[in-house]
Amino acid sequence: MKNPPLQYGSGFPTLLRKEVKRFYKVGFQTVAAPVLTAVLYLMIFGHVLEGREMYGRFSYTAFLIPGLVMMSLLQNAFANTSSSLIQSKVTGNLVFVLLAPLSHVEFYAAYILAAVFRGVVVGLGVFLITAWISPPALEYPLWILTFAFLGAAILGSLGLIAGIWADKYDQLAAFQNFIIMPATMLSGVFYSIHSLPPAWQVVSHFNPFFYMIDGFRYGFFGVSDISPWSSLAIVLCFFVVVSAIALRMLQTGYKLRH
């Protein structure tokens, strides 16, 4: 058999495809389960708090849906990069990626885009299932897409940082349970920060997740706690910071190449 000369391209598309296929193969766990969790949140909180009005004109259920969509999107984007990296590190198969001629930028882009994809798939699943309960307004779809992409990319980057940093599963669980989970739950998914005491309103403004949720919700209702432009600026800055940290870790080979 005669072998034609090899044509080398970038390894990025394959790494992206592999990362997507990895969560697709266990879709029941990575997509269906978080969608079910979000629907349960909606049913319970929607039932308990039904009758409340948000922003003076929206039902609580309608208010809650964008928050749940974004929360699911963010948590699953984080889970995709972090679980993939920690599993590959613990089992040792990350070596196959490290032996390949992939630059740190290609590595970063593949993992982050796969995280964005999973986050968006889960978010879309939550949206479609909950939409029939309370048909949502879609005032500004571009704002929705912008904050969805940036939010997933930020959480994907944080997952990458956590996955590289953690040596054991319990370290990653600590990162997830003590940083990501509280920051997400206390970001205004379930309430408008105007309903909080003044001191907690100030604290909420130091939580970058608040701006992701608030900007995302603005796309649905055209109403938000702060200007979407302010949220966009802050979210963009946060994206640049976490991306720079993740890229630097990959470039220097922190905990990957010794």
Binding site: T14, L15, R17, K21, T91, N93, V95, F96, R257
Partner: protein, 261 residues
Amino acid sequence: MAFRNCWVLHSMSAAISIKKISKNYGALQALDDVSLEIQQGEFFGLLGPNGAGKTTLISILAGLVTADKGHASIMGADVQSHFRDARRSLGVVPQELVFDPFFTVRETLQFQSGYFGIQNNDAWIDEIMANLDLTSKADSNMRSLSGGMKRRVLVAQALVHRPPVIILDEPTAGVDVELRQSLWQFISRLNQDGHTIVLTTHYLEEAEALCQRIAMLKQGKIVALDTTANLLSRYGSVKKDGEGKTDLEDVFVNIMSGNAL
């Protein structure tokens, strides 16, 4: 099976060039001013006791570890500054039996090919699988394979981008006799077809039978470097077995104990 490929067009640079490489892990000096050249087409043995620095040296060549001092290149490409060319020229069979439990054998090989930027490589993947008796397991999940089969997949992964230089880090550790023999036949054929082979092993009779040249590492330093025949004639006479025949194990023991230095 036509393994000979575009690398014959490369300039006749050394397959592997290592110049004054040092590496410390805290207080432990893993490699101390190691220099070594391995020519294209050689079957080269890298021997030494556990902790001698063999895997560290291989990891530096593969870009998994960065040297504190010195330079290394594969087929003339520096492993740091020209990492893409260096890694395309190198296939590494890792010592650990690692695999991705999500995928089948074929998917594993397709992904590995794609990481190197090579698409539509199925004909070559089929050929490698046929040569390693993996065809019947092509659609089996990696988790379901025996240890020996997983080892074959590791070899296949190292060959999927058709590298001119192949490093095997203790490829026969824990492998049964039958697989060991078929693996060596296959690796020997690769060498005859023009691949440069670098082998680390604790089975010294394998190194003696296969390697044209051998380097021995001890505590991060090269303590012997010569052809296998010269090592046997120079150092083997210190200790002989009952029939007066010297083997590489005698040579290794003498060199490592300092008797031959």
